[in-house]
Subunit: 413 residues, 4 copies
């Protein structure tokens, strides 16, 4: 597609392109011109120029650019108020159009116009990643971010996403991104990657957007197993026996990674799990159990806040503490403190089992003393679990987990 | 994808699906529930149910549905005003979020949620086609239409569209739509279609959206010729000689058709011409001239309003009148009356030549006495033409056309 | 690929190409040169030139070309005898190589060298179609044909063929060939075609060879039905109800057509049925019955030879005569007279049922008085049926068909 | 495709498959049965069984299998002689058919029947690789090898091969084979591979056969450069500047590797170079020079035989010796001793330049003292060079190389 972008400029508007590098207009002038340009004849070139310029900006220049968008391309309260008065006086097409136009900040239209050129979507996603890094120090940029997020929720609407299997036949340029983006259990080499995507008892799926065809948005790694596994190192060891796929009864989701920092807050995980469960059920009718093997990222910290530790705890004690934490430790809004728990419980899963010594990596030791958890996606309970959780924060858990939690609670008391 | 939709429902939420037909909730209740449902677990099923129900509604029921969206899912001026006051008092992330939420009518979010299920995009486009047919009798629906159009402009952003060649290797299900949607020079059979897409001196290109992969959005038919042609029947005749593609010097765009009534007002034509010119230039470096052979749909009517007629006019007189009409006949806003002229001149083309007896079909005779026009896309002038036209309505025309127009004007006086 | 052929000539060997049209060498000289040319540097151009020349030959010139290949490019018995003597005297690599070379007529190597250029395979298949038409008047060409058939059996080895579904998404250039090649129940329009490939209860599959990607070799049309059908007009009628695919229990093969006259004698039908049964079983596990609805092309003629006729026969009598003919009428080699019966019985099917008034077309009336037959492919019996048929000509038939045949035989006596 | 093979067996002939593992027949019985089985109904299963069995044979068992094919599936001289007599007495279709049948060893038909099942082609290629390894110790197997080679030349006919670019978007399973098969300049990691296929001034192309879609047959690596390069380490260094592709004037073929030991003696290199030159010329019209940077594998050994060495030789002397060797050192048949020289000169290239210190790897030092050579493919001379070389062994060389060779010859004398 970038070839086409080049051709377009070559053929059509040499004048702009040629002078692009030396174009004396500032970024703010270019943006103002793009917004003032109703047609598309030169809009594409302007958009390309702005995006190319942006990529070359220094960090401070980017900050200045965002400040310009924040300060000068936001809504004009006076205009909104006038439009609102007119609309209330006579609510018709003309007054509604004026109101809608006034209530939408120009920077949203600017982003849409930038998005007209090939490759722009990915560039805008990266732009938001820059923006998100600056917000802690520039909280006023949060308004601009809300606008971008609003647009991205339209552009990355679930109906536009495509699920693709990732396997050893996938393009290397996709696979190297899987290596780079794996956020839960690091992939340390191409051989490690191969062990996760090539054997018939391993699967990987990712969502893609048609405008970013070589950039996965989110991916999940799945192990097909006979029973519910209780150790991630067991799943990943290099010499293990391969299970013939028709013998698998359990699909274990052992890693889910978001790939695009610039799409933070736009949730794909729920849809991904849902569709992968559906696709695997269709392809492998023998599968009867869909479960995760998940980290418990907040456990050690939460215990530390309570002067508890997993160091020296035996397996039973470790599992009790984890069960307690997962089912009882809540935030102010009544939802679990643990972010992974919130995600899966919110999807309608339940806490099925906890395992000590399940993640012996340094990171696993540090965050949860090596304890991991299975969340079970039981098709017959998923809606009910989800609804109770959404309504009242009720955490669904197996009786085993409830007993462990109760034992911990008892000692805790 | 529709298979997947079925699977999803089968696997996950049998309860909803099974009861879908007898679900006692009304459309308005379903929409309210979908908006009230924050997660996606059951949202997909609700969306599917609403879209399926909609497809079965009678015309009057659809009208009632649109009335509900117009009356009950619009903006609440009081809420907007309150949010505006709060934002002005303290413009920060929280107040901005509240303002943006208040200023966006809930029916926009409803449409986004409906769009989460496979196939929804096409169904929503068809829904808007229904809506547009009702607006003349229900002008209050225009507000709802502005909201849908606003969303569609995001979803059908130029960056998301894909250009595909249409030829004799294209799927029959696409080709039959080309036959159905051709709006300028009707295609009367598969053989007629084949003559337009199979020979090496004929090309056809269409824009597609990834979420509607078997529905062309707009397409253009191109004839590769040695010189600029002056008769559409000549281009389409069945026994003609085929020109080897490397001998072509001129690419003639002789038909552009929008395919989706539900995408009215979302312009693709400009981008389509631009990209087809770019692609053809790249593929066939010998091409030096890019031109249209276009109808003049408003000519006869405009002459009739002036008690003029093309009946009995000789070729010279017919061409003078056409040249005059194209270059001089303006609307109140200073732009040409003729819609096809507005389109191509707005793109930066110029009026290159007019031809009598160029379209001898009944429709051609009726609308313009058989006269047609070539608009020339001259790469070196296109930006300049566009800018003058946009700024002052200046119509670019060849000296021949200007002379013809002047002669007509003289007699006219 | 033809573009590449052009490029090759353009880039590499302008000299040959330029002079191709006026190349003064005869076809026989060109062939001799191609055989004498060990490398590939100019061989490709020579091959292209020969194939292009061939396409322009008159019928008489083609005959002369085949006569040259028959008379001058066959085996040399003296050389074979000498090589055989040497091989018997000392059977080693060198003598074996010489023997193999002597025993293979040069025209086989010529065909292989012609086949090196893009598109050659299809041209050679068409060349054999010409040859086959000439053999009745030129029986000596049968030797050349044996050589081509020998090569084609290697080139069109089952392992190289690709099965593709043919549906309404298939390219028009493929679909128009399905219309053209349908040999059993003519397809009279694109609408008729659409009725056979688009509904969910209709399927079509074809074998392709990678070197002839837009030319089907053989195709089969399948109707998915609840029960075994007894009328082809019933299957093909335009207003019929569509059966949801998951409700289908029976797959009926109602038409199998070979597409390439030049591949006569190279059987694909057996493999095609076998693979389609396998694929459909996989895709639609509810299917339990695989059956044909087949013509009985030799029935009326065979009866006429016995002074019998189906005219005026009632349905019972017609079915008795058909059952008798299918199960009892044999050739000298003990196999059934009817060619369609030989094909399906040889594949291991059995005669399941006969139906009067099953094909009311003019052709159906003429060849079999409208009677048709179902051959049943019963997976549990197919090998056993095949082996008995191959060993002793035993015709497997249902008890109903055997009873009908017996009744006919009784009256016949 | 292997899935389909499984299905076929599952659906159709459970009997065979079930008993496959314990089938008591020997390999020779299975082969005899396959040859005796005229139809395909059970032939596919037999073929699959034979190929699966073969894969599990020990080396000695494979040797016994080849001995069986050599001794018992060859030609029968008596039968050939009888058929020859009959053919000479009356040369007609029947006698010719008998002669051809007698003159072809049954093992050829056996191989064709084995090749009917999915995946067989690759398995047969690997079988021949085994065979070739045994020939030195079992020279009588050379006859069997001639038969396999004969078949493979039909199956791998140039017209059936497909050229595909290999780049960073290629499937990992293809790329890992490129790493494994690189035979000239070893690829030591995925990063090294990426440097050879991802930058815009690097290209790689491979031939594939449709029946072995994930197995490259041969591939070539190309560097796009401004001038003719004189050092392979320069081409491969990791930190080098990337040349924009439109600035390239020279395409340098710096590595060609055959991938399939089982296809030895079936030449693809000539066609590969030819088509890559054609494709690159088309894609990058600015390219004016096509050249190799090639090793001189026999130089050091040849010098050693003459008590000469490159050790201690200065660059001028090294180049003189290399030029002399390449242009003067001939075999008994008058062709160059150096195998790489024979290949490129046979293709019509000329010796353009020699470079000292051009390959500083250990292997480069050992085989040619680090000297490398450029062979130039000059489109205007290629046919002429090829023909002179083929006719009289004339080595085309630039005047510089001729001068260097002459100087060496002088000192040599």
């Amino acid at each position: 597609m970038s070839i086409l972008a080049d051709i377009l400029s070559t053929v059509f508007e040499r004048r702009y392109r040629r002078s692009g590098a030396q174009d004396s207009r500032s970024m703010t002038e270019l943006c103002t011109d793009l917004l003032g340009n109703p047609g598309e004849m030169s809009g594409g070139l302007l958009a390309r120029l702005i995006l190319d310029r942006y990529a070359d900006l220094s960090w401070d220049e980017k900050r200045a650019f965002f400040a310009f968008l924040t300060d000068h391309q936001g809504v004009d309260p006076g205009a909104v108020r006038a439009a609102l008065d007119a609309y209330e006086a006579q609510p018709d097409k003309a007054s509604y159009r004026t109101l809608m136009a006034a209530a939408e900040p120009p920077r949203q239209e600017l982003a849409r116009r930038l998005n007209r050129v090939p490759g722009a979507t990915g560039q805008l996603v990266r732009m938001r990643a820059d923006l998100l890094r600056m917000i802690p120090d520039n909280p006023e940029f949060a308004m601009l971010d809300l606008d971008l997020r609003h647009l991205f929720m339209s552009w990355f609407n679930r109906g536009f996403l495509v699920l693709r299997p990732i396997d050893w036949e996938s393009p290397a340029e996709i696979l190297e991104k899987i290596i780079a983006y794996e956020a839960v259990h690091a992939i340390d080499s191409w051989d490690d990657l191969r062990r996760r995507v090539q054997p018939e008892d391993r699967r990987c799926f990712a969502f893609f957007h048609p405008a970013m065809p070589s950039e996965p948005l989110i991916f999940v790694e799945v192990a097909l197993t006979s029973a519910i596994p209780g150790s991630v190192q067991g799943l990943l060891e290099s010499g293990r026996d391969i299970l013939p796929e028709q013998d698998a009864r359990t699909a274990t989701f052992y890693s889910i990674s978001n790939c695009q920092a610039g799409l933070a807050g736009i949730s794909f995980g729920n849809s991904l799990i849902k569709q992968v469960v559906a696709d695997l059920s269709q392809a492998l009718p023998n599968l009867s159990t869909f479960v995760t093997l998940s980290p418990i990222p907040g456990l050690a910290r939460w215990l530390a806040d309570r002067n508890e530790t997993l160091e020296g705890a035996d397996a039973t004690r470790a599992r009790q503490l984890a069960a307690h934490y997962l089912t009882q430790a809540k935030r102010g809004d009544g939802l679990p403190i643990d972010p992974v728990a919130r995600f899966h419980l919110g999807n309608g899963a339940r806490v099925e089992a906890v395992h000590a010594d399940a993640d012996t990596s340094e990171n696993g030791r540090r965050q949860s003393g090596g304890v991991m958890v299975n969340y079970l996606y039981d098709r017959d309970r998923i809606t009910q679990n989800h609804e109770k959780f959404a309504a009242s924060g009720t955490v669904a858990a197996s009786s085993t987990v409830r007993s462990l939690a109760a034992a911990a609670a008892f000692e805790d008391a």
